[in-house]
Each structure stands twice: as C-alpha cells, then as structure tokens.
C-alpha cells in the first residue's frame, strides 16, 4: 500500500516474570500467604476443618462476586443484589413449603433471581440516561419490599421440609458441595471474562461504550445479559444461603452488595469500568473471608472488623495512585 515506509511494529507479547510479580494480582497472592500465616498465629482455631465449616455462608456470597465483577467492568453498579437474594430466598421457601419438589424449588429460586436481574437490565437498557446506581437503589427497596409483603407479619419463613436443602448443604468429605460449585463458577466466569469475545466486549463497553457501540458491539444487549446473569447468581446465592438458614427473613442478604463490591474493588476491579480481572477478585474475596473468619475466631469486636476492612479497602485503592505518582517522579528525573 501507498506511503509504506517499511516500518515494522512489534507484535510479540512480553512475558516478564517481574511484571507478573509486581502486578496487583501478584501482590494479592503475597498478601494471601501472609494473611494465612498471620491468621494461624493469632487464632489457634484457624485450621482447614474449621475454615471449611465456616465458609459455606461466605461462599454463597462469592457467587455474586462474579456478576458484580462483570457489572463493574461494564462501568455499572448493582446495589440491589442483596435484595434479590432476599426475594429469591423468600420465594424458594414459600415454594418449598407449598410442597413443590426440590427441583422446582431450585427452579423458582433461580428464576426469581433471574427475573429481578432482568428487570434491572430492562430498565437500564430502555432508559440509558439513568445511572445504574439510582435505578438499582430503587429496585433494592422494591425487591426487599415485595419480600416483606410476602413474608407478612411474621417477617420470616422457615422450611417445613429441610431434606432438599440439606442435600444442597451436603459435604463431599470435609468439603462442602458449594465450595466445588464456587470453584467451577469461578473458573467459568474467569475464563469467559479473560478469554472470550464476550469478555472482550465487556472491557470495550467499560472503557468506552460509545466507541464499542460504533464498532458493532451490542452494548445494551450485553448490559441486559450481564444484569440478568447477576440476578441468576443472586438466586444461586439465595439457594445456598437458604440451605444454611433453613428459611428466609426480611434481613436475608442485607448488605451483601457492599460486601461483594468491596471484594471486587480490593481485587483490583475499578468501579469506573474496563479494568481488573476475576483472578484478582477471587483472591481478594478469599482474603477478606479468611480475615473475617480468623478475626471472628479471636472474638474481635465485629465493628472493629468492619473498620479494618474499610481501612484495607481505602489503602488498597490508594496504592495504585501513590505508585503512579512515584513512577512519574522517577520518570521525571530520568528525562
């Protein structure tokens, strides 16, 4: 072609070990190891059996991390997931108590979650002017509100027949079933985000949705899918939470949205979109969960645990900024 100067452009990716170790994920791995050592020192009860026993409730929360990570990569946010968990769990219990077979109960739970996510998605994609924050804030109130109405004046529903949910809470050896499911889901969602065209589209939308749209990405369809899948994951979370609680009440899932956002952000996923990956998100989820377990075991005031998590979160997001500033200064000197 004309104007060709014969210039060549490098196209071989550089794989340097240094780069990997100094990445955020690398730092998280180091932190993960350090944390485990720290936990073992402070808590005599910190061992595999206890961790595996204490974990299922937190593992159920981690399901939603995958959806939330996708939503954050898109540059959106969903603060209604906790309420979706509440509504799904409530309806699952109602369905189970109505005598439906377990398969149908599971279907109801997942369908309700999916439907809630779909409603979020539909509103957001039909009214693109609205920020996700305010829409999911309204649906947060509405979804939990509907659960409150369904739960009636008792405010809680308990399973009459727990056998089906007991099966969900079963353990394979010492390891709970939900652990395997979380691992499988983690692999699937990580791979989709990192390796597939769909994942690439998420990053494109999160980085610049206009340019993505011009390049032929069906932006609104992708958003609708992601919000719906997040609803489905909230349903899944509700299912396993119910198998731990044998019931649901108006506070089920309260505050989960902040928990999972904190996990994702600590894992290096930016709320501004287009940045981060699930490897970081998953490691950070385990860091937060294990820290909570260990601090719980030494009977630290739970509010202090929240203070520590809050402080960690702020430090974590401050580090890249400080790092950039130092790098810039160094470059400045070298120039």
């Amino acid at each position: 072609m004309a104007g060709k100067s014969g210039r060549t452009i490098q196209a071989v990716p550089q794989n340097s070990a240094k780069k990997m170790i100094f990445s955020w994920e690398g730092a998280l791995v180091v932190l993960f190891i350090a944390l485990n050592i720290f936990n073992m020192i402070i808590s005599p009860s910190y061992n595999i059996t206890n961790i595996l026993r204490e974990m299922p409730k937190y593992l159920a929360e981690i399901f939603m991390l995958f959806g939330m990570a996708y939503i954050l990569v898109l540059g959106d946010i969903d603060i209604s997931v906790g309420s979706i968990v509440c509504l799904s769990a409530t309806l699952a219990c109602v369905a189970s108590n109505a005598g439906l077979p377990m398969v149908l109960v599971i279907a109801v739970c997942l369908l309700v979650g999916t439907a809630c996510g779909f409603i979020n998605g539909i509103i957001l994609t039909r009214f693109t002017e609205l920020p996700a924050m305010i829409v999911t804030l309204a649906t947060q109130i509405i979804f939990r509100g509907i659960a409150e109405i369904l739960l009636g004046s008792g405010g809680s529903v308990s399973l009459k027949d727990t056998s089906g949910f007991n099966a969900l809470a079963m353990k394979i050896g010492p390891v709970p079933l939900v652990f395997f499911l979380v691992v499988i889901a983690a692999v699937i969602f990580t791979v989709i985000l990192a390796k597939t065209t769909f994942g690439r589209k998420l990053y494109a939308i999160g980085s610049n949705s206009t340019a993505a749209y011009y390049a032929g990405v069906k932006v609104q369809k992708v958003r609708l899918i992601v919000f719906t899948v997040t609803g489905l994951l909230a349903g899944l979370c509700a299912l396993f939470l119910t198998s731990a609680l044998f019931g649901a009440n108006t506070t089920t899932g309260q505050g989960f949205e902040m928990d999972v956002i904190a996990m994702a952000v600590f894992g290096g996923i930016a709320t501004t979109g287009g940045k981060g990956n699930l490897v970081g998100g998953i490691i950070s989820a385990f860091i937060i969960v294990l820290l909570r377990i260990a601090l719980g075991q030494i009977n630290l005031n739970p509010q202090l645990i929240l203070v520590i998590i809050g402080a960690l979160l702020i430090i974590a997001v401050l580090i890249p900024g400080i790092n950039n500033a130092i790098q810039a200064k160094r470059k400045m000197k070298s120039a």
């Binding site: 072609m1 004309a2 749209y213 990405v217």
Partner: protein, 506 residues
C-alpha cells in the same frame, strides 16, 4: 521598552518520560498576528500552556513587555493580560454563556456575583463579535462555532493584550472561519497581539504576518509569511518534502453500489438522497450542523431514521444497529476519534481487531495469536508510527490515531463502502497526505468512499463528486470538473434545497 510584547527564551518542559519542549524560543510583536505551526506532537499546545501558566517550564525565561515574569498558575497569566482559546473548547456545557465567559473572573460586589451586570457585559461582548445567540443559553446547546465565539468573548472579557487561538478553525466551516478572520482582524486593529495555531495554511496566509515553526519539540525558525513558500514551510514543519498533497488516482468509476432514497429524521435531516459508485470518492460538505454526520449515522445504524430507504448493491438494507451496517460492509470512520473511533486506554492491536474478534474467535474464545497477526499486518499497512501493537492509543498523535482507525476498517474483510467523517480533523500535514494516499489506494481497489469534510482543499482535491448540504437537505451535487470553492459555498448557505427548486419548477 522591548521591541516585543512577549518573548520566551530557551524554554524546556519535561513530562514524565518525555521532553515536550526542548529549548524553544518565541517572540511576539505588539499588534501582530503570529502563526505558530508544526505537526501534532511538535509541542505547540504545551508551549501555549507554558505561556498561560498552566504548565511551569523546567528551564527558560519569559519576558512580558521586557520584564521577566514567572507565572505560578493560569490566574497570573490572565492577570498579566494573556488569554487563550484552546483547541478543545474548554467550556462548561451545563452552564450559561455568561457564566462561561466570566468563569474565574466574575464581577463581584459585596462578595456576591453580579449576574445582571455580567449578562449585560456579555451581551456587549457578543454584539462585538456579531453573535446571534442569547447570553442565558446553555453552552451545551450551542454549535461548535458559537462555542468558539463564546471562548473568544471570554478572552476579550479579561481585556487581554495577548490572545492565543489554538486551532480555532478546526471545527469551523468556511464561512464560519471567514467570520472568525474578521473578528481576529478587528482585534489586531485594536492593538491586541494574537498567537494563532492552525493546521490550515489558508488561515495563516489570510491572517498572519509572521510564522514560527516547531518540530519534534524543537524550535525550527521564524519566518515572514510573505517571504516563505508553501513548500518550504511544509518542509520546515514535516522535515521532508511532500510532493503531492492530493494523490487522487485516476480510477475508472464502476457501477452504482450504494444509494440512499429520501432519508429523513425529524429535526436533523430531511429527504436526503445520494448514490455512490464503485471506486468513486464522494464528498459531503456543508456547514457544521447541516446534517451530514447525522445522515451518515442513520445509514450506519447509530441512530434511527424516521423514513427513507438505503440500498447496497441493489439490495435494500434494514439497518437497526451499527453491527448490521458493519455486517453488510458499510464501515464508518467516525468524526470523533477519541470518543467514537478508539478505546483510548486500549492497545492499538485490540482496537484494530475489536470489530472482527468474533470472526477470528474459535467457539467464542479469542484467538489472540491470529488477532495479533492481523493487527500487525494492517497497522503496518497504513504505516502507523508505533513501537508495538500493545502501545495504548493515547500514546499516538492525532494523525496516527486516525491511521489506527483506518487499519481497523481495513481489517474488516467484507468492507464495501467506507465512510470517513472528517478524516483529517486535527491531523498534521504529513499524516494528512498519507491518509489521502490511503484513500486513493482504496478507491483504486474498487471500494466506494464517502468523505465528509469541511475543509475545502481536500474536498476539491480528492472527490469525484461533491454533495453539499444545508439545513438538513442536500442543496446540490457537483462533479469534480464543475466544483469550485465559491460554488460550494453558495450551495452550503442556500436554504430550501432541492425541494424549493422543484417547487419553483412547478
């Protein structure tokens, strides 16, 4: 008293990793219009920001009316009588015109902003510029040309002795530019010194008495406009000679491949019909806001037209979203590269392969190796100045960014019609020539090309046929032979268009 109102000596400015200015000089005489030229990335904008105190230079001295000054911030510069109108309008779209004019130097009384007085003052300023909009309007509701006028009014409102115009005509059409020239001349006659940055030679010839050229962050020289030839100036800017600016190849025009019939969208354009033949470069010009971009965006599925038909190769298309148009082979190079064309934080390679990733993918998994090969191939084909395909788009100059957008289009194998919206906007002269060359090459290969542009020379230099739009309607279609600057201008300002003529015929 010095001969110069403003003089800069040995300015060096360092950004993390790069020297943006390296020992540059500049001298501005009172009451002159001084052009500052150079390719993108030559350091002009940085230089301006040093003058206006936005950036502090690491080395060098600045003299204002013979006295050395040290600006600690934009406030100091503004207090010293220096005002700048930046390349990207630095406006506040949600705020009123008055407020945009007076931001940072509001008229105060007892600690309260005097809105009434400011509105009156703003009206006076706008009247001086022959502006036809209200001071209470929201900035975001104005056209680019009107926003530019507000920016100039803002400079005037500070009673500046030196006004810097950074590419003021880049987004303006011919006659809007004319209006700007008159304003600049009037200011000069009032004794204001003006620094004028532009890629358009016509701006320089029309206005400036002297020109200073920067290249690669360095000072090249200062020349009297009357004494330097166009070729020499280009050579000074680019560092080499450009033999043929508009390499329009002689291509045999094929059969009609693309046709629009009666396309309308309420409030934007009405009853637009045009056609393109294989190997033909079709120009679309007119004033900004004439509906050119909006028409094309409807064709490409960005927005929806209310009525009308679009045909490609004789088949009617039903395009609902950009993907449909892309699948049919209609490729758009959007006007705003940084917002619409590229994902600036991404590497070049990823940008190039974004639209085709599904085609190279296996079972939905990205084939990264193949994507890298494709990206490398096309980025090299358009001769992008980059080190690796992983460089972020932000690291490139405007012209090279545009080349990446072109590479992205070329990578789409099924491309039939390529639509370029202002392909050389903000692109320096060297890169411009290269982009024209690519266009010629594409025409030779038999693609249909539509080029939307406000720049008269490239429209006249590159197009086989030129559609002129005005007020949302096509007012005329000129062949290469019959087209002239005056003819186009007349059509661009004519209201009513075809309809009126048809009515008259009846």
């Amino acid at each position: 008293m010095s001969e110069y109102i403003l003089e800069l000596k040995g300015i060096t400015k360092i950004f993390p990793g790069v020297k943006a200015l390296n020992n540059v000089h500049f001298q501005l005489k009172p009451g002159e219009v001084h052009a500052l030229m150079g390719e993108n990335g030559a350091g002009k904008s940085t230089f301006i920001k040093v003058i206006t105190g936005v950036h502090a230079a690491e080395e060098g001295q600045m003299f204002l009316e013979g006295k050395e000054v040290h600006f600690k911030g934009p406030r100091d510069a503004s207090a010293a009588g220096i005002a700048a109108v930046y390349q990207h309008p630095t406006s506040y779209p949600e705020l009123s015109v008055t407020e945009n004019i007076f931001m940072g130097h509001e008229q105060m009384k007892n600690g309260m902003i005097q809105w009434k007085a400011m509105n009156q003052e703003a009206e006076k300023l706008l009247a001086r510029l022959n502006a036809d909009f209200k001071v209470t309007e929201e900035m975001g509701a104005l056209s680019v040309a009107q926003q530019q006028m507000v920016e100039i009014a803002k400079a005037l409102s500070t009673n500046a002795k030196i006004i810097i115009l950074d590419e003021p005509t880049a987004s303006l059409t011919q006659n809007e530019s004319e209006n700007l020239y008159r304003i600049v001349e009037a200011l000069r006659d009032e004794g204001v010194s003006i620094i004028f940055i532009s890629h358009r030679f016509e701006d320089m010839y029309r206005l400036a008495s002297r020109v200073t050229v920067f290249r690669d962050s360095q000072y090249i020289g200062t020349y009297n406009v009357d004494e330097i030839s166009n070729a020499d100036l280009i050579k000074a800017m680019v560092g080499r000679e450009i033999s043929d600016m508009f390499p329009k190849p002689d291509v045999k025009i094929g059969k009609e491949m693309f046709r629009i019939e009666g396309l309308s969208r309420t409030g934007f354009f009405k009853n637009v019909s045009l056609n393109v033949h294989a190997g033909e470069i079709v120009g679309m010009t007119g004033l900004v806001g004439a509906g050119r971009t909006e028409t094309i965006e409807s064709v490409c599925g960005i927005t929806k037209a209310d009525s009308g038909k679009v045909f490609l190769d004789g088949k009617e298309l039903h395009v609902k979203q950009p993907l449909d148009a892309i699948k049919e082979g209609i490729i758009l190079l959007p006007e705003d590269r940084q917002r619409q064309g590229l994902i600036m934080s991404w590497g070049l390679g990823r940008n190039v392969t974004l639209p085709i990733q599904s085609e190279t993918a296996k079972n939905g998994f990205n084939n990264e190796k193949k994507e890298r090969e494709i990206a490398k191939q096309y980025l090299e084909e358009v001769d992008t100045k980059a080190v690796t395909i992983f460089d972020p788009a932000t690291s490139l100059s405007g012209g090279n960014q545009q080349k990446v957008v072109v590479a992205k289009a070329l990578a789409q194998k099924n491309m039939k019609l390529i639509i370029m919206d202002e392909p050389t906007k903000g692109v320096d002269v060297g890169a411009k020539a290269e982009i024209y060359a690519i266009m010629g090459e594409l025409a030779k290969q038999g693609y249909g090309i539509i080029m939307i542009s406000s720049e008269m020379p490239e429209i006249l230099g590159m197009c086989d046929r030129i559609y002129v739009m005005c007020g949302g309607k096509i007012t005329g279609c000129l062949d290469r032979g019959e087209a002239s600057q005056e003819g186009i201008l007349q059509l661009a300002m004519e209201k009513g268009g075809y309809d009126k003529k048809e009515e008259a015929a009846k």
